[in-house]
Point group: C2
DNA sequence: AATGACACTTGCATTTTGCAAGTGAAATGG
DNA sequence: CCATTTCACTTGCAAAATGCAAGTGTCATT
């Protein structure tokens, strides 16, 4: 299909802002993942999904422009990598990098808190 | 000072949206804390801060209208409680509830990830 | 060749964020 | 007691982000 979705940046700093808003590691992490969708995309990748339509079809109903933008940010920040799809020429699959995988404890902590605190939640795919 | 900052809601559901966007506990947790400021406020409360001006003066420079709005949401969702301030009549101090304290593992996981992945971050207050 | 599916992009309305100034009440100083 | 300062916000508005719905280009299928 079209050009690579990943926009490689010269001397890329893994999409952290040019200057940190503070030296706090929590703040820096939030600057990368602190929105309502990014961790859900990572959740799905942990669960084995890899194609754009897999991610779009998750139950939360992410908007396609938001998904595309988040995937680009995740590639740019080194959490995921896009690989050519074996199924469809010109298309990509998305996979977690080591850096992305290292967010697993964050996902687990959020999953556990949600299960303990929000009635009506349940784990359906036992990954996170 | 003026009326209580906490807006008590009839049959309050701890500020979870009326319907979950999915049964996923990660999604439900993100709906409560998935922005760039909420966890930083909780971080400061874990660190022992309790007054509005303490929170405003954190290094990240939160906007006052955002801080007020987040405090209201946190009270509404049961993570923190507002108590009358012993220092200043009509003013409140904010303190973590049990529910708020149970977010500690989320903060720790984010702190640890940030320290490992974002150069220039460091822990200054050894709470999270 | 026509049609359908996929991976987005686009235009625009709505919502959220955040700046800067302002407000009301309490505390402080003279 | 009055004036000033401080605190805890609120307000108005501009900018940015979000998200709906339609559209586009390419690949796969019929």
């Amino acid at each position: 299909m079209r050009k690579s979705p990943a926009s490689s940046k010269a001397r890329r700093k893994l999409d952290q802002p040019e200057t940190l808003r503070s030296p706090c590691p929590v703040a820096a992490t939030l600057d990368l993942i602190g929105d309502k969708w990014t961790l859900l995309i990572l959740r799905d990748l942990f669960a084995g999904k890899s194609r754009y339509r897999d991610l779009v079809s998750s139950p939360e109903g992410i908007a396609t422009n938001i998904l595309a933008a988040r995937l680009e940010q995740l590639v740019s920040s080194g959490m995921i990598a896009a690989r050519p799809s074996p199924e469809r020429a010109g298309s990509s699959e998305y996979h977690l990098t080591e850096r992305g995988r290292s967010l697993f404890p964050v996902l687990v902590a959020m999953r556990d808190w949600g299960l303990a605190n929000v009635p009506g939640t349940e784990v359906r795919v036992q990954v996170v």
